[in-house]
Amino acid sequence: MPRTIRRIVAGIAAAAVFGGVVATALADSTADEIAKYRDALQDGNPAELWEARGEDMWKTPRGPKHVSFASCDLGLGAGVVKGAYAQLPRYFADAGRVMDLETRLLWCMTEQQGYTRADATKNVFGNGSAKRSDFEALAAYVTSQSQGVKMNVPLDEPHVHEMYALGEKMFFYRGGTHDFACATCHGEDGKRIRLQDLPNLTKVEGAQKAYTTWPAYRVSQGELRTFQWRLNDCFRQQRFPELVFGSDASIALTAYLAGRANGAEFQGPAIKR
């Protein structure tokens, strides 16, 4: 643990230095500088703090029923974490539903640990020390156990296949006051908003690079963010109503993007601006 903290402190110092570099080099090679900044941080990713908290949480009995996640099946058997994230979303017969990681965690909390849905979803996204999210910590831990594992979402399974197809439709669904769809910003190569590069998620390489680097520690927010958060905040900027945590639409879009990432090694939790 002290070693982890030393690495994180070094990482934050590197972030400060490179922050200055980024500011002075805006015009020419912003993307290069950001890539260097990311490399410098990679060795001391604060996401490790969330991973450690999540691991404790995973192993400790919790909830009204005093049950740990050892009985939670993420698709590879009760309590099995290694490699599980790389095969999500998948169909869970006990729930009769395709689920992504966070939806499955929520299911285990309500069905096995005895939480009400309202209690379990009180803090799905954290907000500094004022509001810590169990989901962000648990997702950090579970996803860290798929590092280096090739994405392998079971797209041949009919329920997953259906969700993938619906997710693709959603990706291109234009609506709201600004006519935005996911594809508006993520449908072409080499585009950016202001100076922020945008992945082209309609291409396999773009989807692979983006999907395999969430969850991520967001330097600008000082928080570890999950894929549910990523989608939720995209829709806010799209001027859509609020995406419900664990909703079918969130799972369908995740199935679409995770499925397109199949074959690429999972690298999260990563670090982003």
Partner: protein, 214 residues
């Protein structure tokens, strides 16, 4: 059995039958057609909640949004292009006093601001157009996006004519009158900007004194 459960069970059965059908015919990636569109629309309605000013009716598509979604990633057939552009051209109105050009300094502020219409925004504050998110405009602003074309020297290149001013007004008002399924928001048609604000953005584009035209 609760009524809701029966509906869900039926929907599930239909869903299973449809995906089995898709598999049978080796439909590998995107099962096209209206059945998937309808299911996607229904799924969206149940997956979002109203939050502040962002109410659920924002998910309801007008004909332009529906067609642009349907043809996304494919070439638009010419009759569809004409249908969309005609319908959107018909939405454009000019201000009663005929004044199309306002204050470019105010236009620059509107172009810089990304505020407005997100559920996290204060609906009482004026919205921006966030032009710089997607376009290069004034050369002084280095932080610009590339989803749209560069508008540097827009007025200078096109000439400071009535035609340029009228085109700029209409393009900001409803971009899809000229370019079906453009990524650009329809700022006048959707009341994102007021007439007064559109005037100021037009000034930023066409005023010879605007930094964009230097």
């Amino acid at each position: 059995m609760h009524r809701m459960n029966i509906v869900r069970a039926l929907a599930g059965a239909v869903l299973l039958a449809t995906s089995a059908f898709g598999m049978l015919y080796g439909c590998a990636s995107a099962p096209a057609g209206h059945a998937v569109d309808d299911r996607a629309a229904a799924m969206m309605k149940s997956s979002f909640k109203a939050h502040g000013q962002a109410t659920l009716d924002r998910l309801d598509q007008d004909e332009t949004q529906r067609l642009c979604s349907e043809y996304a990633g494919r070439a638009l057939p010419q009759p569809v292009v004409e249908r969309i552009e005609k319908a959107n051209l018909a939405t454009i109105h000019f201000p009663a006093d005929g004044k199309l050009v306002g204050d470019w300094k105010s236009g620059e502020k509107i172009a810089q601001s990304g505020r407005g219409f997100q559920y996290s925004d204060d609906p009482k504050q004026a919205a921006g157009a966030n032009c710089y998110a997607c376009h290069q405009l004034s050369p002084k602003e280095l932080s610009y996006g590339t989803i749209g074309p560069s508008l540097y020297q827009f007025g200078k290149r096109r000439g400071y004519t009535d035609e340029t001013r009228r085109y700029a007004w209409q393009k900001v008002y409803n971009a899809q009158a000229f370019s079906a399924c453009s990524n650009m928001p329809r700022f006048g048609h959707h009341h994102i900007l007021t007439d007064e604000q559109i005037r100021d953005v037009v000034a930023l584009l066409v005023d010879p004194a605007s930094p964009l035209n230097q």
